[in-house]
């Protein structure tokens, strides 16, 4: 797949647990971070095969993970925060990105719903298409019909394999080398951990790498952890109440 992963494995072998990794500082709110932190896009790439665009994760987990990704974007943009299972709006200035704008508008307009889980469920119902749209508009993916007859569906195939593989490769390498993570990577690591994507991300890595990931996420900012805990519960709940419809 990606040569970077092979190199990372060698590092992982010599990985020795060192001092607790210092907690990275929150990404400051501002225009610069808004442009870079399209966390849902990066998570979308991580959840799909970088060549074929086929999903690596089951539907409900993927949908809720992307919904959480959109919420993290707004949190990093300083617009909302999470407290004890509820979303609180801090700043209703419209974000530049249309999708962030759309989500923030909805949250601000329907403040009778504050539970993070309600928003994960609501955004989860449309997040996949919306994030894919945003990525298509940015030229990151292109839609392609796949499957035959009744199994026909749209795949979003990455336009550039390297761009698509980059998020996973970078995160995987950082984790396997026992490094600390910046805000974006920390959010991605948390999303991976709570959607059960971590098995793919850390395929073949030692248990120490997984506990490193877990520790980083556990030491992150309380609002992020609060959101991720709800994500984990929603994904687990979907497993428990699943029915083939």
């Amino acid at each position: 797949m990606n040569p970077a992963l092979g190199a990372a494995d060698e590092h992982a072998a010599s990985y020795v647990r060192s001092e607790p990794v210092p907690v990275p500082r929150p990404v400051p709110a501002g225009a610069a971070s808004e442009r870079t932190s399209r966390i849902a896009d990066e998570f979308f790439f991580m959840c799909h095969d970088d060549r074929t665009g086929r999903p690596r994760l089951f539907d409900s987990s993927l949908a809720h993970g992307l919904a959480a990704g959109l919420l993290v974007e707004l949190y990093y943009g300083g617009r909302i925060t999470f407290e004890r299972g509820h979303v609180r709006v801090k700043d209703i200035r419209p974000p530049q990105d249309w999708l962030q704008h759309l989500v923030l508008d909805r949250i601000a307009a329907e403040q009778q719903h504050t539970a993070t889980r309600v928003w994960l469920a609501f955004l989860g119902s449309s997040a996949y298409e919306q994030v894919a749209q945003r990525m298509w508009q940015s030229g990151l993916v292109r839609p392609q019909q796949a499957g035959r007859f009744w199994r026909q569906r749209t795949l979003y195939v990455p336009t550039d394999i390297n761009t698509a593989a980059w998020s996973s490769a970078r995160l995987s390498q950082h984790l396997r080398n026992g490094r600390s993570l910046n805000g974006v990577d920390l959010a991605l690591a948390g999303l991976a951990l709570h959607t059960q994507l971590d098995t793919t991300l850390l395929d073949g890595a030692s248990p120490a790498v997984r506990s490193h990931l877990r520790r980083l996420v556990e030491q992150s900012w309380p609002p992020l952890r609060d959101l991720l805990a709800d994500l984990g519960s929603v994904v687990g709940g979907a497993v428990l109440s699943h029915r083939t419809s």
Partner: protein, 497 residues
């Protein structure tokens, strides 16, 4: 801040919500009515030798309705409402909760694995009669096992529409059979002997009651849907009562109709001679062979639906316990591609195949020794769970502030606890009759003892967790919600320690 009057969120989330009929369908279909009518009731007559099976079904339905009053009310107030051990944790404390979880694991595994005996034997008979194929019971049982194992890992359960069609067909066939049997009574007169309330006090009724309870296992599944219904307050409660009433009446009616067709004094002997063929043999002189064949096929498909349903139940229990880390965390992982609780599913399949191979090697009877013995042992486990859960409902409502009336929060659960305790005592006293073994046989203690061991092991493990891993201990009973436990300790309901 703008406050809109529209509520898109509620509208979107309301899509695909379940109404009463869907919940009833899911639950009754999982209980597999034809399995109970053609398999459970007939084998119950044969093994226990008790003629009061029909009245036992009706009595049990009434008691389960009473049990449901507090159970459903409590289900609205807790997370992870699909599992009995959550109720026990909330009402009686975490050590009792883990004890209940272990009992539940044994019970649902017993239900599932026992059904393979019925499935294998009934399918083998069907293949012999219809196509002249001679196979031993464990061949079709193992094929069924393989299909369930694969569907389990792929997280495929039976489609709601398929289940609904099967359920309607099963009920229609059972009702037609009942009408035919009542229309052709033995000796020309319809008698109501097997419905006489006097059977309740007769010898062997404990065995009959647990046989009846076994037929209802699965009805408790309504509460799993509480978060997905249009109106959680009413839908789940009504669906539960409808499911219990409908199945109770169908079981009681069918078991009684069989006794009418054979004559109440001959029903036990007839069941011993014909086994699971009894109902089909009774109606075949009066009905076209095609409808009887349809009945036989539906019997097999209903057994399969029940097998698959209990397989998923066990896998999800293991998943919830793995999520809480009460059991190894690996059980709380899902298959990446399908989202199936993979490890739990595989574990259940391994256990089932080991038991199947053991039975096949020992040459034991698939219907009596596997289907009946093991599923009624599962029924006993569910009876234990319901008894303890009822007590837990009282404990729960005594501890929280609530607006429910006395009937719902105290009287109904208390009556249910007392009645179920009485059932439990009668069942344990008559377990030899239930198994059809000698009163001094060690087997009569061996099966119930499994639950005592499971409960003690679970309780002891909870105490070990309290001493060594307090974080895990705190999350007991939260199931998939355990991820939020370290962050929001005070949010959850007040728990007894």
């Amino acid at each position: 801040m703008s406050h809109s009057t529209t509520d898109t969120v509620s509208e979107v989330l309301a899509r695909g919500r379940l109404g009463i009929p869907s919940v009833v369908f899911f639950v009754i279909a999982a209980a597999a009515p034809l399995t109970v009518v053609a398999g459970g009731a007939t084998t119950g007559y044969a093994v226990t030798g008790v003629a009061g099976i029909p009245v036992a079904y009706l009595v049990v339905a009434a008691v389960l309705a009473l049990f449901s009053v507090g159970f459903v009310a409590m289900s609205r107030r807790i997370v992870n409402a699909g599992a009995f051990y959550t109720y026990v944790t909330r009402g009686l404390g975490r050590p009792a909760g883990v004890g209940a979880a272990m009992v539940a694991l044994v019970a649902y595994n017993a239900m599932q694995i026992g059904l393979y005996g019925g499935f294998g034997a009934v399918l083998a008979t069907f293949l012999r009669d219809q196509y002249g194929l001679h196979v031993t019971w464990w061949v079709p049982a193992l094929i069924g096992w393989a299909v369930v194992a694969v569907l389990g890992v792929l997280r495929i359960d039976l489609n709601g529409k398929v289940l609904a069609v099967m359920l309607v067909a099963e009920c229609a066939v059972a009702l037609v059979f009942d009408a035919v049997m009542v229309g052709h009574p033995a000796g020309g007169t319809v008698t109501f002997d097997t419905l006489a309330p006097s059977h309740i006090l007769a010898a062997g009724i404990g065995a009959a009651l647990v046989t009846a309870i076994t037929g209802f296992v699965g009805f408790e599944g309504t509460v799993v849907f509480s978060e997905e219904t249009r109106d959680p307050r009413r839908t789940v409660a009504r669906a539960t009562y409808i499911a219990v009433a409908a199945t109770g009446l169908l079981y009681g009616l069918s078991a009684w109709a069989m006794s009418v067709a054979t004559g109440p004094d001959r029903i036990v002997d007839a069941a011993r001679t014909d086994g699971t063929d009894l109902i089909f043999n009774l109606v075949s002189p009066h009905l076209g062979s095609s409808i009887v064949t349809v009945g036989r096929v539906l019997f097999i498909t209903s057994l399969f639906a029940a097998l698959l349903s209990f397989h998923h139940t066990v896998a999800r229990y293991l998943f919830a316990l793995g999520r809480e880390r009460v059991l190894p965390g690996v059980l709380g992982r899902t298959s990446r591609r399908t989202g199936a609780p993979k490890v739990g599913s595989i574990l259940q399949s391994i256990l089932a195949v080991v038991v199947l191979i053991a039975y096949a090697t020992a040459g034991a009877d698939p219907i009596v020794h596997l289907f009946f013995w093991v599923t009624v042992t599962g029924g006993l486990g569910v009876l234990i769970l319901m008894t303890v859960t009822s007590a837990a409902v009282i404990g729960f409502f005594a501890r929280i502030a609530h607006g429910e009336g006395w009937w719902l929060a105290f009287v109904a659960p208390l009556l249910a606890t007392l009645t179920l305790t009485g059932f439990l005592a009668a069942t344990l006293r008559e377990f030899d009759i239930l198994l059809g073994v000698d009163a001094h046989s060690p087997l009569r203690w061996l099966f119930p003892a499994t639950y005592a061991i499971a409960a003690l092991a679970g309780t002891a493990w909870a105490l070990v967790l309290r001493a060594t891993r307090p974080q895990v201990y705190d999350a007991i009973g939260l199931g998939a919600d355990s991820a939020t436990a370290p962050l929001r300790r005070t949010d959850s309901f007040r728990l007894p320690v």
